[in-house]
């Protein structure tokens, strides 16, 4: 097998590598537990490498349409299928590539961290296997061009996440959080399945491009759209579907919570894919755009105001995850509201969308970093309550620096990455509706206030006697944080490069629905 064959089959390897890694991890752990950690790091590294290579191919050659089970050169539509692409397809365009890069970076950084932070726990082989399954679920969600496969990967994502939340129990709280997450996300997923069924019944296809090419705005399709928004909004943790999110995030191991941020963003990916690539051409009013904007504003404001009074440090961060999701919904919602008007799209709609999409990858980096830094504090102190912390900056200087970088980024302080994407959202949203832009800025100020509280409570103040023996976390945990901190700083220092190289192709992919349809119906390996 030469390199060309490997490169040609990267979409298959994207799922195969983490699955192979997952299934072999318990086997290796049973017989060679000493090298199991090295194996999972290798499996995560290779799957991340595959994702980044695949994204690079998309940026170099355009949308990749991969037909599973077909020989090279065979189109997406078999000759005897009556014009329907019945094969399983992966359709990876600029938007999928952006999500792949985000997931690849976070999943590798987190596994470095987890293999040490969980080193004193039992049954780690199965834990790491679930982690790799979660990675496969995320990769699959952002790559597939088939609605039912999207549902399958969504379920892999949610089930693996639920199992990981409850895996290392915390006095029953973790099991309770996992159960809530599982039930609410399963209800959401069933609504998505119902919506898929409604579309399949009408168009005899599960392929997104085929459905998009034939879709009209009937009552059934409106119902399906609402179910998609609600189900995927639940996965993304958008208000009012967010309730299980803080309960689950706050009790999961910190590394898992960092990856669950990306897992939830796969839900956002699904929502935006459905809204633009499937339903894009049928919107004749601003209503659906406003629906997304209102979900965004509610998420931003309720998320941040719920975060401020929290005393559990992870619960506080979890509410901020809800709040930050609001920015992404706001940016993309503004683009959706003006989708039918080319002049407005050019004036500010496209910029709003780029801001929202840029915020997705930024949020994955800085919120992942924050959860890892907070996890490091909990790893050393065993304390989750902010009222019981203090003065840890004396002993955990690197963790403090990494937390500070993440905190400044999430608050939108320059020159970190959060500022660049928020600036794009503020300015474009202001052109659309100044009141919403003001709310977004107020939410940023409240975010900064909230993180001032956390930073002061955890790291500042005199060195407390109860933490006299606390020391910095091991180097591999710091390495995981350093990777994410690097991207937080780098994306902030070269925002133009990131926007032009990674974000603009993602926005193009969503705005150009015709190209998405044409790439599938006329494409293939």
């Amino acid at each position: 097998m030469n390199a060309d064959v490997l490169l040609a089959n990267l979409p298959a390897l994207l799922i195969a590598v983490p699955l192979f890694g997952a299934f072999l991890t318990p086997v290796i752990g049973r017989f060679l537990s000493s090298i199991r950690d090295a194996w999972v790091i290798l499996a995560s590294f290779v799957s991340s490498l595959v994702a980044i290579l695949l994204a690079a191919q998309v940026y170099a050659k355009g949308t990749i349409v991969y037909v599973f089970g077909a020989a090279p050169g065979v189109g997406t539509i078999p000759a005897d299928s009556g014009g329907i692409p019945i094969r399983i397809l992966f359709t990876i365009d600029g938007f999928g590539a952006l999500m792949l890069i985000s997931a690849a970076i976070v999943s590798f950084a987190v596994i470095l961290y987890l293999t040490l932070s969980q080193s004193k726990r039992s049954y780690r082989s199965e834990f790491y296997a679930l982690y790799l399954l979660l990675t496969a679920g995320i990769f699959g969600m952002v790559s597939t061009g088939d609605m039912f496969n999207f549902f399958v990967f969504l379920e892999i994502n949610s089930l693996a996440a639920s199992a990981l939340i409850a895996y290392h129990r915390n006095g029953g709280l973790a099991a309770e959080g996992a159960l809530k997450y599982l039930i609410v996300n399963t209800v959401g997923a069933l609504m998505i399945l119902f919506a898929i069924g409604l579309l399949y019944a009408q168009y005899n296809s599960l392929n997104m491009a085929v459905i998009a090419s034939q879709l009209t705005l009937t009552s059934l399709n409106i119902l399906a759209l609402v179910l998609f928004i609600a189900g995927l909004g639940t996965k993304a943790g958008a208000v009012p579907f967010h309730f299980a999110t803080p309960d689950a995030y706050s009790v999961a191991p910190s590394g898992i919570t960092a990856l669950m941020i990306v897992a939830s963003q796969a839900g956002l990916y699904g929502m935006f894919r459905i809204l633009f690539s499937v339903y894009g051409h049928v919107f004749t009013s601003e209503t659906v755009g406003w629906v997304v904007i209102i979900l965004g504003v509610l998420s931003m404001f309720i998320g941040v105001t719920m975060a401020i009074p929290q005393k559990d440090i992870k619960r506080l961060l979890s509410y901020h995850a809800v709040s930050q999701t609001g920015y992404m919904l706001l940016g993309v919602g503004v683009a959706l509201a003006v989708l039918g008007d080319i002049a407005l799209t050019d004036a500010f709609g496209r910029m709003a969308m780029e801001g929202g999409l840029f915020h997705i990858i930024n949020h994955a980096m800085y919120k992942g970093l924050l959860f890892l830094a907070v996890g490091a504090v909990i790893y050393r102190t065993g304390v989750w309550n902010l009222n019981e912390m203090g003065g840890l900056g004396h002993k955990m200087k690197w963790t403090m620096i990494f937390f500070l970088i993440g905190a400044l980024a999430i608050a939108g302080i320059p020159p970190f990455n959060g500022f660049a994407s928020k600036l794009m959202i503020y300015e474009s949203t202001f052109a659309f509706n100044p009141a919403i832009a003001v709310i977004a800025m107020v939410v940023s100020i409240l975010t900064l206030a909230s993180f001032m509280k956390v930073f002061h409570s955890v790291f500042m103040g005199p060195q407390l006697p109860e933490y006299e023996k606390v020391r910095e976390v091991p180097k591999r945990m710091l390495a995981g944080m350093a990777i994410l901190a690097f991207f937080v700083v780098a994306f902030g220092l070269v925002p133009d490069l990131v926007v032009n190289t990674l974000v603009a192709p993602a926005a193009d992919a969503l705005l150009n629905q015709g190209q998405y349809i044409a790439s599938v119906l006329g494409g293939g390996l």
Partner: protein
């Protein structure tokens, strides 16, 4: 290497901010250099002077998280009194909110 981000309404170049940070660091360093040269960390110089009173225990002088933004939450008490109970922790309530959300969304999208 450090480029300018054009937002459509303005521009942002991180280089400006980096220059500001560097200047601030320079001033900080100059002020630090002007400090007492005979400062020694391992002597009583590090102890705070509290008008001759004994220094309280370290834990007693640290401002805890619960004390911060008390005024903010107290001022918005009526808002928080409504918002916090909605996050009841009961999964039945959460599923109910999901269903209410679906109904409201459907009504909005169909009616408007």
């Amino acid at each position: 290497m450090i480029g300018t981000l054009t937002t459509g309404f303005g521009v942002w170049n991180p280089l400006v901010w980096l220059c500001v940070i560097l200047v601030a660091l320079l001033f900080s360093w100059i002020i630090w250099r002007c400090g007492e040269s005979d400062y020694d960390e391992d002597t009583e110089q590090t102890s705070p002077y509290l008008s001759g009173n004994a220094e309280p225990a370290k834990g007693a002088v640290h401002v805890r998280a619960g004390n911060m933004y008390w005024g903010f939450t107290a001022a918005l008490k009526s808002y928080y009194d409504k918002l916090i109970p909605l996050h009841s922790g009961i999964v039945n309530d959460y599923v109910s909110w999901f269903l209410i959300g679906v109904v409201v969304l459907f009504a909005v999208v169909v009616l408007l």
